[in-house]
Symmetry: C2
């Protein structure tokens, strides 16, 4: 099968689901409700890579041979809502203070800080609303719990907090940098694969493989992000390039050097491929996605 065509088709399916499921204000909503929905859609529909929904759909498909009744798209959209919220809040002046995201002004630049804060809050809430609306009790509970664990203060938000502290204080050690990446980035990639598995009825062994693949993939993904920040230009990235070096930020690239950072990313990707290929369904498309993420240019 031509995975490149499949990727394009899946991307269209994901973007269609986002357009359909993203909050739209009721016709009689006052100005605040319209503004908020407009802000949420501005960020959700800025044309990201859709890595998390794509991984969820791929994991679902590998596992779902016997479970045709479940629609994975609302969950895929929920994962993108959480990712988008985390970017919006991360771009705020009190955090990374960034002006450009996905090739467009960041949300607080396009609207204002209060609107960006609230739109982020609403997107996080919307993710849990989707999980609680589109799945039956046990599956809904498992998906919500997986998402809440990944987005919690112990993981995604804990990683962001540690990242902020690292920027303010002493440069992080290699172990602290790994902690930041495993939580700030890998947690939600792991959760995306696990949610796909849960929707597909995966057993404990398959879920453990998906978790392992997500952890490896997340680490590789963030290292590639750091390498691209150091080597690509703003136009191809769609966000400000060279920010890490300008801020004196410690990354895998600065700590280990570019060749070693590339090697670690490739090793982590190889470990993710091993885990995918051990899945009952073979995991060929998830493995293709993992290689694509390693070799991406933005």
């Amino acid at each position: 099968m031509d995975f490149s065509n499949k990727f394009t088709a899946e991307l269209a399916r994901i973007n269609g689901a986002i357009a359909r499921l993203a909050p739209a204000p009721p016709a009689d909503a006052p100005a605040g409700g319209r503004r908020l929905a407009e802000a949420m859609r501005y960020s959700l529909q800025a044309g990201g890579k859709r890595v998390r929904p794509m991984l969820a759909l791929a994991a679902f498909e590998v596992c779902a041979a016997g479970r045709p009744g479940v629609d994975p798209l609302p969950c895929a959209v929920a994962l993108e809502c959480v990712h988008t919220y985390s970017l919006i809040h991360d771009d705020l002046p009190c955090m990374d203070n960034d002006d450009l995201r996905r090739g467009r002004p960041t949300l607080h630049k396009r609207f204002d800080e209060a609107t960006a804060l609230l739109a982020g809050d609403a997107l996080l809430t919307e993710a849990f609303r989707l999980m609680a609306t589109h799945y039956d009790g046990d599956l809904s509970r498992a998906l919500s719990r997986t998402l809440a664990d990944a987005a919690s203060g112990a993981r995604l938000i804990g990683g962001q907090m540690q990242d902020i502290l690292a920027e303010r204080g002493a440069p992080p050690s290699a172990a602290e940098l790994e902690y930041i990446h495993l939580n700030k980035t890998a947690a939600l990639l792991e959760a995306s694969l696990v949610c796909g598995g849960l929707m597909g009825g995966a057993g404990e062994d398959a879920l453990a493989l998906l978790r392992e693949a997500g952890r490896r993939l997340g680490l590789a993904f963030q290292i590639v992000d750091d390498i691209l920040d150091a080597t690509a230009d703003t136009a191809s990235l769609g966000k400000t390039a060279g920010k890490d070096a300008a801020a004196g930020k410690t990354t895998y690239a600065s700590l280990h050097g570019l060749p070693s950072a590339r090697k670690i990313a490739a090793e982590q990707t190889a470990a993710a491929l091993d885990a995918f290929r051990s899945l009952p369904g073979g995991g060929a498309f998830p493995a293709w996605l993992a290689e694509r993420l390693l070799n991406r240019k933005n």
Copy 2:
């Protein structure tokens, strides 16, 4: 029964559950994780009125004659997490820019803006984690959905957005002010009562009564808040008094005058009492709570 003693006992039970269930960092957490948990506890344990957990427990008790296996406390804590998150974000400089909350410096004053932003995000996530961890599939789903609807861009966050726009633009009409209160304040009070009912196995009729009572109570609660802002002092409020007038903000008190505002609050409370008293279990304690909220001094 002496409801005053009951209230004190319930308050202790709620505060005990918050102390037990609020996120604590694992012993080996890095500095970021410890800071985040400390910030979340600083705001959660600042000694608020615990109105939302109290209403949830009261509604649970009225309905729960036949459902002894459910522990309402994790849900009660989840509701307080959402309320606390909304206060933390509302106090930020880009929103209300407030320095004092519950008699202490606001979180961004005590820590910093980034920590307050992230602690709020983590508390919202924690609420859904509690709902997905402590209840079985169908109940977990119903609680999550109720909470997500109430906290969504269509309700809580929509009300906050409208409130911000009203402060920046033309003073709101009476209808717009009611919209703000019904969403910014009443939505979560409604959800608290409905969650209590859901945990207690309430039927559709009882849930509708709880929703109606919450709507009325929420409106009354916010009007009393506005009246206290205009008439009480900072020391008794535990937050900056006279803010609305200083900011030229339109409230029920400024729009309708203090006597009319007091009358509307009393009428809304009376309507809430009617709804509570129509509940199968009689609703005497919820009704006592509603009267207490009307006559509160902070």
